[in-house]
């Protein structure tokens, strides 16, 4: 009886333990980790509206190559971007993208391709280090930092605000 009681008490204590410091709201980032072209990236959860399974992608003619097409998200049209092309990375390998991560701000909305969604993680802000010197070019502009586990965290706010992503072309 007593043993049992102790066990239960211990369990209760375990479960009732306060959150670790690193999980404190203001000090951590909630990150969605995803795989794209053999690399793993992280994106802040704050800018993500939802993750949508990629089913039918309708290609668009006459758009920059980083725009892969448009999809139907419950009756709403969302354009889909391949970040690797936008980042001017070499991407010979064909990947089998399964998901679209939809980013949204007040004035912008688009989806980015992801080969796979790995999960959601919390990372302490203080553990995030500035950019790696190996990351250059356009990609460096959108980097929030690199985690202790060497996860590349992209800056969702910057992506959403960047005018280079906007397509606004007239026929001349």
């Amino acid at each position: 009886m007593n043993d049992q009681h102790d066990i239960l008490l211990n369990r209760a204590r375990e479960l009732a333990r306060p959150l670790k410091d690193k999980e404190h709201e203001n000090d951590v980032l909630k990150i969605v980790e995803f795989q794209l072209g053999g690399e793993i990236y992280g994106l802040e959860l704050d800018h993500i509206l939802e993750v949508y399974p990629l089913r039918k992608l309708t290609p668009m003619p006459g758009v920059p190559s980083f725009v892969k097409g448009i999809i139907n998200v419950r009756g709403h049209i969302v354009s889909v971007i391949d970040l690797r092309i936008f980042f001017e990375m070499n991407c010979q390998e064909l990947t089998d993208s399964t998901s679209v991560i939809i980013l949204q701000s007040k004035n912008m909305e688009f989806g980015i391709l992801a080969d796979a969604i790995i999960g959601i993680d919390t990372i302490a802000k203080k553990e995030i280090m500035p950019s790696l010197p190996t990351l250059s070019g356009i990609r460096a502009d959108f980097l929030k930092g690199v985690s202790k586990e060497r996860l590349v965290i992209l800056d969702g706010a910057k992506l959403l605000a960047d005018t280079r992503l906007i397509v606004d072309e007239e026929v001349v």
């Binding site: 309708t58 668009m60 003619p61 725009v67 139907n72 009756g75 909305e109 007239e170 026929v171």
Partner: protein, 795 residues
Amino acid sequence: MDEQELLRRLREAFKIESAERLASLSTRLMELEKTDNAELCQEIIEVIYREAHSLKGAARAVNLTEIEAISQSMEGVFGAMKRGEITPSSTVFDTMHEVVSFIENILATEQKSAGKDELSAILQQLENLQAGQTPATQKKPPRAAGPPAGNDAAQQIKDTMSSALLKEQPGRQESAGVDAGEQPAASTNESPDKSSQKLKPAVENPHLGSSVRISTDRLDKLLLKAEEMIAVKLSASQEVNELKKLRHSFESWHKKWMRKDALLRRYRKELAIENEQGGTRSAEIQKFLDWNRDFINTMHKDIRILAKSAELNQRFLDRKITYFLEDMKRVIMLPSTTLFAPFPRMVRELGRSQGKEIDLELKGAEVEIDRRILEELKDPLVHLLRNCVDHGVEKPEERRRLNKPERGRIFLHIDQIEGGKVEITLGDDGHGIDPDMVRNSAVKRGLISAEDAARLTEKEAQGLIFHSGMSTASSLSQLSGRGLGMAIFLERVEKLGGQLDFASIPGKGSSFTVCLPLSLATFRGTLVQVAGQPFLAPSSHLVAVLHVNVASIRTVQNKATINYDGEPLSLVGLADTLQLEKPVIRKESNKIQVMVLGTSNRRIGFEVDEVLAEQEVLFKELGKQLLRVKNIAGATILGTGQVVPILNVHDLLKSAVGTVGERFISARTKQEEQKPKSILVVEDSITSRTLLKSILEAAGYVVTTAVDGVDGYTKLKINPIDLVLSDVEMPRMSGFELTEKIRADETLANIPLILCTSLATDQDRERGIQVGANAYIVKSNFDQSNLLQVIEKLI
């Protein structure tokens, strides 16, 4: 619609507006009475003052002079209050409330005028308020009190009022339900009773209940949601189709089963014998088979019932949603009057300011049109009207000289035509568009060369006014006028899915006809397949779908054309225009499918894989990241959930041609520049000669024939020929000899020459090349496309 009818409608609107204003007035008056806060007081007075002012304006617009007069006096009182000349007292409030009720009374009883005495009493009261209690008014003679003052505003109004009242006596009498004989007494005896009765604050106003004001924003949202229902409709019909397919496969199973039924029965008998011998396993299989059959049959039945009910549901849904959408669209439709009502006055005034007497004839203002279209249309129409007044209609003296009635006439007709469309015709009986003036102006602006200009027909020249280059200059008024903004007008009309046409007879006048959909909401699109990918072409711009024989495609100035409607039509591949990587997929090698897309002044044929079906779709934006995409206007979602891009026809026409402008100049003009190529056919056999002649003529060439080498050589000397097609074996002079002779002749040496023959040996071929033939075609494998291809390569 005549002016009376218009006035009636406007009065309906006024009733609603005035009721709101009066309600606001009484609320504010009560607030004012309660408050002590000086600042707040000032604010309220300001609001009241504005309400009275607006009421006055509105009443004037609908010719309700008595309400106008009262409102004006009220405005005067509140104005004085604003300036601090009157302090609000209980007398003031009592009077004001009385006045408000009085106006409400006039409106509620639908009387065109109130009792004369009551009116003068009310006006007198207001006057007293303004004058009697305000020493300050003495300083302002025009506003000063005192009935004898000749220029007293209120007095003036009273005077006009009395005459107005006298005219309207019968109407009043009728509504008061008083016999004609008792009339004089009635106006004095009955009126006080009636007014005191009506002075109760809760005046019943039947007109308040019949309509509501809703912000357009909310309405648009509602409409959008209603439109989303189209998707439900489409997916329901898609599901029914799926279910039908399923039912069908059950039916094929059933047929197959029945076919094997005899075999099964025989097998069963054998099994039965076996069973008697104690085979339990086969009995089990038999049982299972039976169960299986019954199970599938039950399922078949279920599916049949399900499909049936789904079909019923779908039909119900279809009907309901269609009606629902129609009603919803009607909600945002307004009679054109709301747009056109101020036009007659505007025209009259504009005309007068230029010394012209012009009448605007307005017809069909009751036709209801989508509010969004009306809004888009207003500015262009005002612009067009101004042009008519400024430049279309002549001055009276000129009109007299031309034997025209002195009063100019501008007409604006709105007709609802079939297919949910409306036709708006606007024109005048002025001097029309002078084609020569337009030509000169266009040449001067460098839009067109003098030679090209001279070649244009009258209508084509007039059509130049739609050229965007004609619309910028300020000197346009010197031209026959209509330049300014015509390009913009055309663009606006086309954006709304409309088409524009015009007619102008110099000296007689011009008219512009705009054909528009009544409602923006219905978007019909035609699904086409291009390089394996579906696209949707807006049906409003789809002129025709053609199956074109490849052989009938001709090249004019390196551009492919086909014959459509008796005119050459440029032909391009839609896949090329959209810069798709894959080419168009042709189903048949010798035929192509062409969809002709066009706006009111330009058409181009686009080759597609296949034209599939027309359907009603919901137009959707591409999202915030794709603000504007070349050649694509938006997207839609099919019943299957598939996303299909919607083509932007304006962009496509631009992309295909690569140049803007040349509006209304038909391709014909260009083709005339490009003379058809001439071919000399030298052939001794009449059959072959005739055949070749007809093939070549069908392909657009001018054909001259010769019966042998000598004849051919002579004809070459006389006629300008672009290419020679010659047989080899001929009397008098063979094809080889002819070739040699041509190549030796200085003037003819460079003419392309094709030899065609039944001689098929290599030596012959070699000799042909040796003597200088450009090509050597063997008759045995003589098919026309090969020949035409070779000719096309050479010239």
